[in-house]
């Protein structure tokens, strides 16, 4: 008896059903966790908000009541930890930006908020630096994820220095992609006349295009009163 050729139609269909089920399960689990992750990031930004209000109060207090700057130490400590947290979440958010580019509205709002946090801290640092005599260098980093091929390179070099100098270097990234939604970016861009990307504003001076490691080292070192090890 020759082979009785069968077509196992019910097996094909069953396999298809299970494939779709397993696939959707993976998809659903991924989406749920993605949502959790978003909430987690939101939580972080909320914490920053509270931290920032605390800082703002301290500055206000310094400006209006204390004239001998005795509270500068406290302010510096708080600022330090706040900015360290901000630096950590920078990488997080950048990584996250890479994959969910323009996908989620929620995420756009979070990045906007993060950006504003950054700008607020930047202002605060400039304000208190003279008041309390902090020895730190602050960098405003204009970049874009969509139309700037060399920005990742600058990002790598910047995070390298951030890792090296720790809280002595304060990097405030400004993602200009959000520009249309957030008028404050336009304001700052106009002030420094930012036309090219990437652009760095280091201690109020503008540097256009990618700055290599050695050059950036020199520029950063100029900003310190007591030179750290790296500058020797």
């Amino acid at each position: 008896m020759v082979v009785n050729r069968r077509i196992s139609r019910e097996k094909y269909i069953l396999a298809a059903i299970f494939t779709v089920l397993i696939f959707s399960l993976g998809l659903a689990m991924g989406i749920i966790l993605d949502y959790e992750r978003l909430r987690w990031i939101e939580q972080i930004t909320k914490t920053y908000d509270v931290d920032f209000r605390g800082l703002q109060f301290q500055v206000l207090y310094l400006n209006s009541l204390e004239k001998d700057n005795a509270s500068c130490d406290v302010l510096y400590a708080t600022l330090e930890s706040a900015i360290a947290d901000l630096g950590d979440s920078l990488e997080t958010i950048q990584e996250y930006e890479k994959q969910s580019k323009g996908k989620q509205n929620d995420f756009d709002i979070i990045t906007r908020r993060y950006l504003l946090d950054n700008l607020r801290y930047w202002l605060l640092v400039r304000e208190t630096k003279d008041l309390c005599g902090f020895d730190a260098v602050e960098i405003l980093y204009f970049h874009s994820l969509d139309d700037c091929d060399t920005c990742p390179n600058q990002g790598v070099v910047l995070s390298y220095f951030k890792k090296k100098l720790g809280d002595k270097l304060l990097v405030f990234p400004v993602n200009v992609d959000i520009g249309e939604d957030e008028p404050s970016i336009g304001m700052i861009k106009r002030k420094y006349d930012v036309k090219k990307l990437p652009t760095l504003i280091i201690e109020d001076k503008k540097y256009e295009g990618v700055i290599e490691r050695n050059e950036l080292n020199k520029v950063i070192c100029q900003g310190f009163k007591t030179k750290p090890e790296v500058c020797a």
Binding site: M1, I7, S8, F23, L27, I31, D88, T92, E95, E212
Partner: protein
């Protein structure tokens, strides 16, 4: 990641998942039959004549072992014929075989000498003088278990169908020593299990060189082995399928084969297999999606074609997730003039945050896909009556991570070679 690679990857995810689940369903369906099969007392009513063909080329070291494993088979001595084909052998194989013949005068052993014309020609030559109702081939690098022949003959007796023309064995890698051999050990176990499932749907498309048992009359009628095919053991199975004859696997008819020891040897073997695979799929393309051939045309032919697509996909997968990140890291290190000390300091801190940078959806689907494969993997061990950790766990990591990527590389090279039209003999 570019859209093209993305599409390839997702397609292969889904199709691999589909086929794996399909075989699992076949397994669940066949399980009661399998259990019955495994408990059967296999008693033979009669012992038909069997000829064992041993083609050999420069295999003096292993041929003695091979012949002795056949001589030691649990089968009536007067029903078993051994034909050794000396395929232009330049070493002492001839002397070794003649010595064995002298020592076993009561046994039916024949030595044929022929000019080096390849394995298929050697088998065809021997086929002319076989007197058995059944014949099998045993490569000179393989040995066969004592009970194997009886088990296979029993399958013929049980089916009692003159249109059952090939019974295939269950191949195991003989005493794997090197890493490459251990990886093949795992590969063979899985392949063996899948072959058992394929057997349920009349989907077997290769009759492994070592000790497949053929019905002599039918194979002769079909014209013997194809002498210009790279993988004649695959071609004969395809040919048998086009003529609607039956092929069955005997799940515990163990044959032990010496697997390639080094990557170079493995490369040479697989280059030939894959090339033969593609050429035979092409040769028998009319069966693809042909309802006349049932599951063989719809499922098996699709899988055989999909495998090469999967190979290409595996390579792009490997490129995007392994090579590209490495290149990226090197580039980043170059940007900071290879001063990586600051990174080491904060490495453990970063691990925490890298979790956030993972694409969770893709990861979850991958995990599920892997779990389904893992089920298949464990069932394969059960099927072969082997413990999962027989050779330790360590080599499973390269098996799951790199082995199939490596094979895919070979497959992609083969596709390339076929496109530029490189000729090759086995």
């Amino acid at each position: 990641m570019n859209v093209f690679a993305s599409i390839i990857l997702w397609t292969s995810y889904i199709i691999s998942l589909y086929f794996t689940i399909f075989w699992l369903i076949v397994f669940l369906d066949a399980k009661p039959r399998f259990l019955k099969e495994e408990k059967e007392k296999r008693l033979l009513n009669k012992f038909p004549n069997v000829s064992v063909l041993i083609p050999g080329y420069n295999e003096e070291k292993t041929i003695s072992k091979t012949i002795h494993s056949v001589l030691n088979l649990d089968y009536p001595k007067n029903k078993l014929q051994i034909i050794v084909i000396n395929d232009g052998i330049k070493d002492k194989t001839k002397e070794v075989v003649e010595e064995i013949i002298r020592k076993n005068k009561e046994r039916d052993i024949i030595l044929i000498n022929q000019k080096n014309k390849g394995k298929a020609a050697a088998l065809n030559n021997a086929l002319k003088i076989t007197k058995g109702e059944f014949f099998s081939c045993l490569d000179a690098d393989s040995t066969v278990d004592k009970k194997t022949l009886k088990k296979m003959i029993y399958l013929y007796q049980k089916e009692d169908d003159k249109d059952l023309v090939i019974v295939t064995p269950a191949m195991k890698v003989n005493k794997p020593k090197t890493l490459i051999q251990k990886l093949q050990w795992l590969e063979y176990l899985v392949a063996m299990f899948v072959a058992r499932l394929m057997s349920q749907l009349d989907c077997i498309y290769v009759a492994p060189g070592p000790f497949s048992l053929y019905r002599a009359k039918t194979i002769k009628k079909l014209g013997g082995f194809s002498e210009d095919n790279l993988t004649e053991d695959m071609e004969i199975a395809y040919r048998v399928q086009t003529h609607d004859y039956k092929i069955r696997q005997c799940f515990d008819a163990y044959v032990h084969t010496v697997a390639p020891q080094t990557f170079h040897q493995l490369y040479k073997q697989r280059n030939r297999w894959f090339k033969g695979g593609i050429l035979n799929v092409f040769l028998y393309r009319n069966m693809f999606m042909n309802k006349k051939f049932g599951d063989f045309g719809l499922v098996q032919m699709s899988i055989n074609m999909f495998n090469f697509f999967l190979a290409i996909s595996a390579i792009s997968f490997f490129f995007y997730y392994a090579i590209l990140p490495i290149l990226n890291n090197i580039h980043e290190m170059w940007l900071v003039k290879f001063d990586f000390l600051p990174y080491l300091k904060t490495f453990f801190l970063n691990l925490n945050f890298n979790i956030l940078s993972i694409d969770l959806t893709k990861t979850f689907i991958l995990i599920l896909l892997f779990s389904v494969f893992l089920v298949m993997f464990i069932l394969s061990h059960k099927n072969a009556n082997e413990r999962v950790k027989k050779h330790g766990f360590l080599y499973m990591l390269p098996y799951f991570l790199f082995y199939y990527v490596g094979l895919s590389f070979i497959a992609v090279i083969v596709i390339g070679e076929l496109i530029i039209g490189k000729k090759q003999k086995w």
